[in-house]
Amino acid sequence: MTYSPPLEIFDRPTTPLIITRSFPGRYDSLASIGDFVRGMSEKAGLDTFAVYTVEMAVDEACSNIIEHAYQGEDIGPIACTCKISNDGLTIILEDEGRPFDPNAVAPPDLTSNLEDRPTHGLGLHFIRQWMDEVHYEFQPGRGNRLTLYKKRPPALKKNNTRKR
């Protein structure tokens, strides 16, 4: 009789899986960045909605890098590191642009009437609301580093046998 280990062993690595990819700081990179983090989120065992929230948060953060840190396209790269651990997924986004501290941006007013609705600041709202942890630091001489963490709900560990 051959021993076949439970699928969970493959789906939930005991040592962290870390992959870094670099993308050109352009808006047409967003779809490829989305594909990368979606794949890693699925590998991390996040449920369908959690995968969507990660893709959204990363998309918003990368749009901010291009718009605010680089203040234009093709100024520098965006390095995206995904780290799968036993309890969830950590994403680190690094750029070489000007300091852009998301904590300095006030939350948008989401209750005003249509005419007064702000059209900016929504992206950070999604990042703050949908990620379990958000950490920002500026490293002089290097650039911005934004760390996002999404926890895998414990209830999902058992049924986590999805493969791609």
Binding site: Y27, G34, D59, E60, E115, R117, T119, L122, F126
Partner: protein
């Protein structure tokens, strides 16, 4: 992202498929702007095959809604909103600002 636009007598139907992000949202805004610049302000957006919409897409929706609703001349309504995108609309506080229909026929019939 793929956009198709159908003009009816009383309203316009726009269908957007795929991914709306900071790269593709300007095309969606441009489609809406062309319609409103022709003096047409009753628009239904079919989102049934939309996979992803970032805040750039939400901005296109809110800006178009402002233009359409001004002087009570019309409105932008949303059709067949996927669950994930509905959660984003909800988090952005957009649900009270848009009528949402389950299917295109009902949406168009209500104009």
């Amino acid at each position: 992202m793929e956009i198709t636009h159908t003009q009816y007598k009383h309203c316009d139907l726009v269908k957007v498929k795929g991914r709306v992000d900071s790269y593709t949202a300007p095309q969606l805004s441009e489609t809406f702007n062309k319609i409103t610049e022709e003096g047409r302000f009753k628009i239904a957006l079919d989102m049934s095959e939309l996979d992803f919409m970032s805040s750039a897409g939400l901005r296109a929706l809110i800006n178009t809604q402002k233009v359409c609703k001004r002087y009570n001349r019309g409105e932008l309504v949303l059709v067949a909103v996927p669950e994930n995108i509905r959660a984003a609309l909800d988090l952005a506080g957009f649900i009270p600002l848009f009528k949402i229909y389950d299917d295109v026929l009902t949406a168009i019939g209500n104009f």
